[in-house]
């Protein structure tokens, strides 16, 4: 058992270390301004860490992400349940959903600015949009895929609507919904950078976009890596939360 863990940790370190080494080798063929190597990026990190701007950017990006994700949950989950349950409703809304879904949130920029102005609001709108559809669609298919046997059992015992939702629908739909939640997390975090192009004055996306204009490629890469690492952390958190719920519900692996 201990050896297995040691192997996993070992591989987990060797992988990134290899990539960093490759990165360093490739960066040597370019000037630091064109393609910074690990050393320059670490220096850039320390620069924005020292002047406090990294903390500010991370904080505000996480805030925007959380607000947007929450909004997506609160709108997509109930709507998903309704449309999954009520087939007529799905027939009504499905064409609109399928048309809107493939539109990249970036294409919404002009409307985002028109409806929400500049700064926090359009960024949150863009991020919410990118998280909304994965959650909605996975919820709809989760509800529709609930084995009719469970519904029959619930009907047989005369379970009322609230008990049905709480004790049957939610747990039965959970495994599929969670897949959508994780996809939505990834999509939302990716579009964070895009969303912050609309007149935001801070944030990790802003840092990356702003640094472009100064040709501070080292800051750009530092920003990219921060976004990537935070994205990984968030995904792991969601996975952990999922495991806890599964354990409590005996769904196991």
């Amino acid at each position: 058992m201990k050896r297995a863990i040691a192997w996993r940790i070992g591989l987990g370190i060797v992988g990134p270390a290899l990539i960093v080494f490759l990165w360093w080798r490739v960066s040597r063929r370019y000037t630091p301004d064109q393609f910074p190597g690990p050393v320059e990026v670490v220096a850039a990190w320390r620069e924005i860490l020292a002047d406090g701007s990294l903390a500010t950017h991370v904080k505000i990006s996480l805030l925007r992400f959380s607000a947007a994700y929450l909004l997506a949950l609160v709108t997509a989950l109930p709507l998903g349940f309704s449309l999954g349950w009520w087939t007529r409703g799905l027939d009504l809304f499905d064409p609109a959903i399928q048309i809107l879904r493939p539109i990249s949130p970036i294409a919404w920029f002009p409307l985002a600015v028109l409806w929400f102005g500049v700064g926090n609001a359009p960024a949150i709108f863009i991020i919410t949009l990118s998280a909304f559809f994965p959650i909605l669609l996975s919820t709809v298919s989760a509800v529709r895929a609930i084995p009719p046997a469970y519904l029959r059992v619930a009907a047989n015992f005369g379970a009322k609507r609230l008990l049905l939702l709480r004790a049957v629908l939610l747990p039965a739909a959970f495994p599929t919904i969670v897949v959508g939640l994780r996809i939505a997390t990834g999509a939302a975090w990716i579009h964070l950078v895009a969303g912050e192009m609309l007149g935001a004055q801070s944030g990790l996306g802003f840092l990356i976009v702003d640094s472009r204009n100064f040709l501070r490629t080292d800051l750009i890469v530092a920003g990219m890596l921060t976004v990537g690492i935070l994205g990984l952390v968030i995904d792991r958190l969601v996975a952990w939360a999922e495991r806890r719920v599964r354990f409590a519900w005996g769904l196991g692996q």
Binding site: A149, Y150, R152, V153, A154, A155, N156, F157, G158, A159, K160, L163, A167, V168, P171, A172, F174, W249, G250, L251, G252
Partner: protein, 258 residues
């Protein structure tokens, strides 16, 4: 307690090719309360459909299904159903599954827990109360389903081939247990099966059914001392009679050319 009356009941379905098939035709039946009846027949004879109509999961296309004189509108906990695939919620423990049925009736808290544990003990699963269905064997799962069905003290028990997926020895054991549990409160039981031995062993009354269209062809009473001895000549005689009835029923059936 519940007596069931079916009058001129017919049910038609559209099959995958859109053709209408008569799954049940002109079924007339009265089942008095506190009786144990088996529906026996090959697949396609409509026995499960008949049970679903009584349970309230479906409505007849013609005729009426009435319980104590009142038309069946939908499912109800007074008519507990046990499904072939158990229908247990994998996200709840055995105890949790029984508690669900009680919660649906409005029973919560310590009282409900006590009731649930009582029925789990009754089916011999007191120790397994905190296991999830995935951790239990097929036989144990069916016993949980039984405990759940009985915990709401139903007037009627509807069972759709509940032991079909189990091995012979587990099946025998559960048949005995079922009879033991039934003897306590004696709900009206409709037991659907395709196994002749099982029908003879369990039921006081066996309704033999045939397909195309689904109908009851023979109504036979089984008058044997309980519990049955499977090797006793009377058992074998009853078995033989039913076998004959089934063969007759089969011969009268027009075979479908595919």
């Amino acid at each position: 307690m519940m007596s069931i009356e079916l009058r001129d009941v017919s049910k038609r379905f559209r099959d995958a090719r859109g053709k209408e098939r008569g799954v049940l035709k002109d079924v007339n039946l009265v089942l008095p309360e506190r009786t144990f009846t088996c529906l026996l027949g090959p697949s396609g004879c409509g026995k499960t459909t008949l049970m679903n109509l009584v349970a309230g999961f479906d409505k007849p296309c013609a005729g009426s299904v009435a319980i104590n004189g009142v038309r069946v509108q939908g499912p109800d906990p007074s008519r507990s159903v046990i499904f072939q695939d158990y229908g247990l919620f994998p996200w709840r423990t055995a105890l949790g599954n029984v508690l669900f049925a009680l919660a649906a009736k409005g029973q919560h808290g310590k009282e409900a827990r006590a009731t649930a544990m009582h029925y789990l003990d009754l089916v011999g699963l007191g120790q397994a109360a905190h296991q999830h269905p995935q951790q239990l064997s097929g036989g144990m799962r069916q016993r949980v389903a039984l405990a759940r069905a009985l915990a709401v003290r139903p007037d009627m028990l509807l069972m759709d081939e509940p032991f079909a997926a189990l091995d012979t020895f587990t099946r025998f054991r559960l048949q005995d247990e079922l009879l033991r549990l039934w003897a306590e409160r004696r709900p009206t039981v409709i037991f659907v099966t395709h196994d002749i031995d099982e029908a003879v062993y369990l039921a006081e009354r066996v309704l033999v059914m045939a397909p195309d269209p689904g109908r009851i062809t023979h109504d036979m009473t089984i008058d044997l001392p309980r519990p049955c001895d499977r090797t006793h000549p009377l058992f074998l005689e009853a078995r033989g009679k039913i076998f004959q009835a089934l063969s007759l029923a089969q011969r009268d059936t027009v075979e479908y050319a595919i």
